[in-house]
């Protein structure tokens, strides 16, 4: 089928002006052709406009798809990166804590390491370390910063959140219902509780404990107890050596 174009329509229209002696039937035919040509031109214009609109929509869709794919890709890459970053930070904290606790042979050095780990790695502004005095059934305060030591010098085992942690061996966190302390962790040698570490307050810039802090506190529960026990054993051993000499 021959395609009707603007040129062919214009040809028909111009040929009409040439036929001065046309019969009415032919005249009608020319008029009808001109009308169709006019409609055809309008439809061509409409098709052209729709084609342009379609191209614009296609370009918009491609751009949107690209943004969506990029955002999705970034999300997929970004998420593991954050996880790796957190794990890396956690590993560094654990490594530093382990080295600090176990490289000290003196009790004072281990207590300093515990204090530094709580303040510098966890961000504690006020903390305390208690050890169990089994003969008196109490907890004795052995190290603290940011608190008044006198009222907490001795705490009966089982009394208050700190005494309860010593009695049960289960950690207690501030969000468990007591806002006076952030975390209370038992020092444990196997199943035996030997003391308690308490974080009373965090630094202003630290809003709450993170998952890496919980990991570090878990680690401290066993390793700080072990480090303190080791130095006590070393002291006893040294005393025994001296008395033998």
């Amino acid at each position: 089928m021959k395609k009707i174009t603007s040129e062919s329509v214009r040809g028909v229209e111009s040929s009409r002006t040439c036929g001065k002696a046309d019969t009415p039937r032919v005249k009608n035919h020319y008029e009808r052709s001109a009308q169709l040509a006019q409609e055809n031109r309008q439809r061509h214009a409409k098709v052209e406009s729709l084609t342009q609109e379609l191209e614009r929509c296609r370009a918009e869709l491609t751009a949107t798809e690209f943004s969506a794919v990029t955002a999705h890709g970034q999300g997929r890459l970004g998420e593991p990166f954050t996880v790796v970053e957190t794990q890396n930070q956690s590993l560094i904290n654990l490594f530093v804590a382990a080295t600090r606790l176990h490289s000290n042979t003196e009790r004072i050095g281990v207590l300093t390491a515990i204090r530094e780990i709580l303040s510098d790695l966890i961000g504690s502004q006020a903390m305390a370390v208690f050890e169990i005095d089994a003969s008196a059934n109490t907890l004795s305060l052995v190290e603290c910063i940011g608190i008044e030591p006198e009222p907490l010098a001795r705490i009966p085992i089982g009394s208050g959140p700190i005494g309860k942690v010593a009695a049960t061996g289960e950690p207690h966190f501030g969000n468990d219902g007591d806002s006076r302390l952030v975390a209370c962790i038992p020092l444990k040698l196997g199943p035996r509780v030997t003391g308690v570490i308490v974080v009373f307050r965090l630094l202003e810039q630290k809003q709450e404990l993170q998952s890496s802090d919980h990991e570090l506190l878990d680690f401290m529960s066993a390793h700080a107890a072990l480090a303190l026990h080791r130095t006590a054993a070393q002291t006893q051993l040294n005393a025994a050596h001296r008395s033998r000499k």
Partner: protein
């Protein structure tokens, strides 16, 4: 290529160890000092490219050490990043007034520290 020198000044061995763990992967030459006085002395001796300085330290605190370093021709333009638990605006203002370049709040975030160090050293 000669590695960049960073002087780490802090009285906490835990912080010094932490900073070394974070920065050693970028192969910097790391020098440590345990208080402000030792920090000033080592800065003058070693001429570091960057100093990470704690604020609360025995003998000479971080602010005093920065003032001292800024008065010395050899160290007056060395970038100094304060690493401190004092993140309050007042402390930061004092730090900037006396010539420190930036702040990192404790507890140290490894990514933040690395990013700031790399940015200052232009790595």
């Amino acid at each position: 290529m000669v590695p960049r020198k960073i002087l780490l000044v802090d009285d906490s061995e835990t912080v010094l160890m932490m900073e070394q763990m974070i920065l050693k992967k970028d192969r910097y030459q790391l020098i440590t000092a345990k208080n402000g006085k030792e920090g000033v002395q080592k800065a003058l001796e070693t001429r570091p490219d960057l100093i990470l300085m704690d604020v609360v330290m025995p003998e000479m605190n971080g602010f005093e050490a920065v003032r001292c370093l800024r008065q010395q021709a050899a160290t007056q333009s060395v970038p100094i990043v304060m690493v401190t638990t004092k993140a309050e605006a007042e402390s930061m203002e004092i730090g900037y007034e006396i010539g420190c370049s930036d702040y990192v709040a404790k507890p140290i975030d490894s990514t933040e520290l690395l990013t700031k160090v790399r940015s200052i050293l232009g790595v």
